[in-house]
Symmetry: C3
Subunit: 366 residues, 3 copies
Amino acid sequence: MAQSLETIAKALEARVAGDLSIMIASASEPHTAAPDQIALAMDPKYLDKIREGRARAAIVPEGTDWRGLGLEGAIFVTRPRLAMAGLSKAFDPGPEIAPGIHPSAVIDPSAEIGIGAAIGPFVTIGAGVRIGARARIASHVSVAEGARVGDDAMILQGVRIGARVVIGDRFIAQPNAVIGADGFSFVTPEKSGVEEIRQTLGKREEIREQHWTRIHSLGTVEIGDDVEVGANATIDRGTVRATSVGRGTKLDNMVHLGHNVQVGEDCLLCGQVGVAGSTRIGNRVVLAGKCGVSDNIFIGDDVIAGGGTNIYSNVPNGRVIWGSPAVKMETQVEAQKNIRRLGRLFTQVAELRETVTRLAQKGDTE
Amino acid sequence: MAQSLETIAKALEARVAGDLSIMIASASEPHTAAPDQIALAMDPKYLDKIREGRARAAIVPEGTDWRGLGLEGAIFVTRPRLAMAGLSKAFDPGPEIAPGIHPSAVIDPSAEIGIGAAIGPFVTIGAGVRIGARARIASHVSVAEGARVGDDAMILQGVRIGARVVIGDRFIAQPNAVIGADGFSFVTPEKSGVEEIRQTLGKREEIREQHWTRIHSLGTVEIGDDVEVGANATIDRGTVRATSVGRGTKLDNMVHLGHNVQVGEDCLLCGQVGVAGSTRIGNRVVLAGKCGVSDNIFIGDDVIAGGGTNIYSNVPNGRVIWGSPAVKMETQVEAQKNIRRLGRLFTQVAELRETVTRLAQKGDTE
Amino acid sequence: MAQSLETIAKALEARVAGDLSIMIASASEPHTAAPDQIALAMDPKYLDKIREGRARAAIVPEGTDWRGLGLEGAIFVTRPRLAMAGLSKAFDPGPEIAPGIHPSAVIDPSAEIGIGAAIGPFVTIGAGVRIGARARIASHVSVAEGARVGDDAMILQGVRIGARVVIGDRFIAQPNAVIGADGFSFVTPEKSGVEEIRQTLGKREEIREQHWTRIHSLGTVEIGDDVEVGANATIDRGTVRATSVGRGTKLDNMVHLGHNVQVGEDCLLCGQVGVAGSTRIGNRVVLAGKCGVSDNIFIGDDVIAGGGTNIYSNVPNGRVIWGSPAVKMETQVEAQKNIRRLGRLFTQVAELRETVTRLAQKGDTE
């Protein structure tokens, strides 16, 4: 699937110069590039590396003297990561799933499979399922009864989609993700220790032996258009209403969304983020890796949280937070600085106490 | 599967009033309820919403003026979450798995499958496995040689049960959970850096290059009755004895139990909790989301840990803990308050130093 | 698969005494040992327990009076955990996978399967795949187009190996691990909030609504010899170059390696560790459970991090670190001690302020 330099430049909507007919098979870092690879040197610091490789063409910053680097052609970009998006899309072969339905797949006769769908080996599709047009469903996927998936889905190996889950168009799910497991919701006949300390902030009365009774998840999961879910991520169904993920939101590997959670649009939830039950997250929120969010709270629009942040209470719109418990990023940076300086503070206070004791004694003896 | 209001009230062991013959198909939040749905208004703050929906019957707190809300019938509850447990059980259709054994399943002839079991497509069941009566095993599950699962199990898609694992009755496993993976246990020919710093608390002698040799897991996993395991959770086998999970304990999604871990009865381990090897956890312990527990320690009965707590040492019975490292919750709250006040403390000490220097000089010059 | 005491001693390269012909079927803790089990009493504190069980032979420390414990034979060891490695290997039956290729497996005609390989039910192997000799591939595994796996692999149930992934010899993957999912890499047309606060350390200009565009993962994953990957762990493919894991490195359950990450040789990454994109980790690094590592940083050789450590910046070779943010372990221990002492410090400073005010007033009135 080699493409001409001209075709690639058009895909990137970028300016191109030199021999537009050079055929490019794939992309490479500059120093390892073969003659049929385009060298990625969007950052000026990589321009020197072009001579170490054998690329005929490269992607370079605007204004680069490409001929001086020994190139025969060049594409010019101003926002490197955006160019990378277009370029990587152009060269991604995608997963190989043969057209049509693999004979081993077990598909309920009442399921509707969209035109142009490709369904791999050992897939199960339950009663009343609706799969959109051009869906690509890799091997070992299960889609349970009544679920709906929109057009142009790419659902990779071993993904589990639970009963009655509703998913929009252009959905991408990485291997072994689980959409629509039962929520983690239990109750004891009488007030539990957890309920008690939530009210008393830590104090407990007499401890009673009690068993946990399951609250079943009658709700489902609703996912908007253009959502992606990472490998081994999990989204639990709601108790009565649906757990929901808004249009354009992306979940990384091992992200966990509890029952009834509502995530807004265009959010990024990075690797191993966990959101406990019934919490609402606004639009364009970015939670870096390993953030934890308590249950039943509200995270406003445009919040950004640094890696490993634990959020225990509501966060207003637009706030940048970090730490455990989460506070404003500058507050956290200041707190850490203060903690590092504590040793000296203890010394100073000890010295002060000595001096003041001496001064006080002197005053008394005068 | 519509049920009469009377039937539902009996299932909840709750008082009912009005037209007992109203047929209810499912439950709903009050404002979106259709005429065949029961409105959930256990909390007084939701009573107003009943008029916004079209429910004929509702679940309401004792003493509610249900006729005044336009209802034709009502069920009265005192502990809403407990009522929700009964109600959700009554309305949960459960996963659709056809009765009998799907022809695609690969079942060793020496396996014993209990009466009334339903086994889905692409399931594998190894030699000598014993599955109890009425088990429901969804598609893509593997149960390896010699494993035993009790009666009334619900094992969802893609769950892995390892060789010789023993599980009690009424077991529930959400999709892609892994019970009985090998433990993470390695040794170097000579003392490793990790062993050294555990003794010296951080100091290291000469660093040697060494490879890791595997300690195989000969033990298995033993799980009591009424245990649930979340999606993508993992429980490793023991080295010699079994890793064990006590009766009535519930593990949420992505919980990890290392080799030899022993968890007691009626515990709740929430999303993404991790417990390292050989640690023992008592009964009725609740670990909120993302808690981490070090290896080879002991957590007493009735311990409750807040979200994101990291536990590095033994915890006595009944303690409520929070933070990293874990301390009593009130100690943690106090420490955080103190840290927030540090900026002012630094200022005060700086001022004191100035004043005291001045006083000391004055004293000297007098 | 019973073995004589002599055979076991040879496998352990250990000194043996007494009746070398005793047949041993498996290993046990001393107090529960049956006559055909060898009692594990490598630690002197377990020697007393031998009499509680019925073992005829035991593994004991050098110098133990084994006859005095009622044993008929004994193996002597100096480094117990190392002995356990040899012993557990000798007794591990491994997973039961029938020789040859199960008829239900879907294997592309262009794939090359090594001599002596055993491939279980419902396995899929894509076009151009190369699997080494003696590989054992359990049920429900998928190996996508162009992937290569070396000799003597053990790939357990439900593992996903993505397209063009390259793996060395003696690879072990626990159930449902995912090697080669797409990286989590997105870009907005204009500068995103995350890019902005990385430069300003928290300050933000006007917030703009923007959508995320996917950067596809064209790179792959390269894994050296003797690597193990835990259950439900995930390793994402690189953007252009490969994500890589060096020879001898072991990843525990639910470890996540982001795109472009490079992990060196002989590392141990324990349960639920997460490493964000493009970070490089040296050789012999040990990250205890739940450690998080930011993107685009460098962790030197022989670094050891305590459980729950969050690493936000480069770490030099050989450093032992702990905490969030990570600092030298002794610095962290000191900081925690200081925080615990803060209450007293506040009291002391308050008292000092009173005394000094009094002294100053006294000085003024004199």
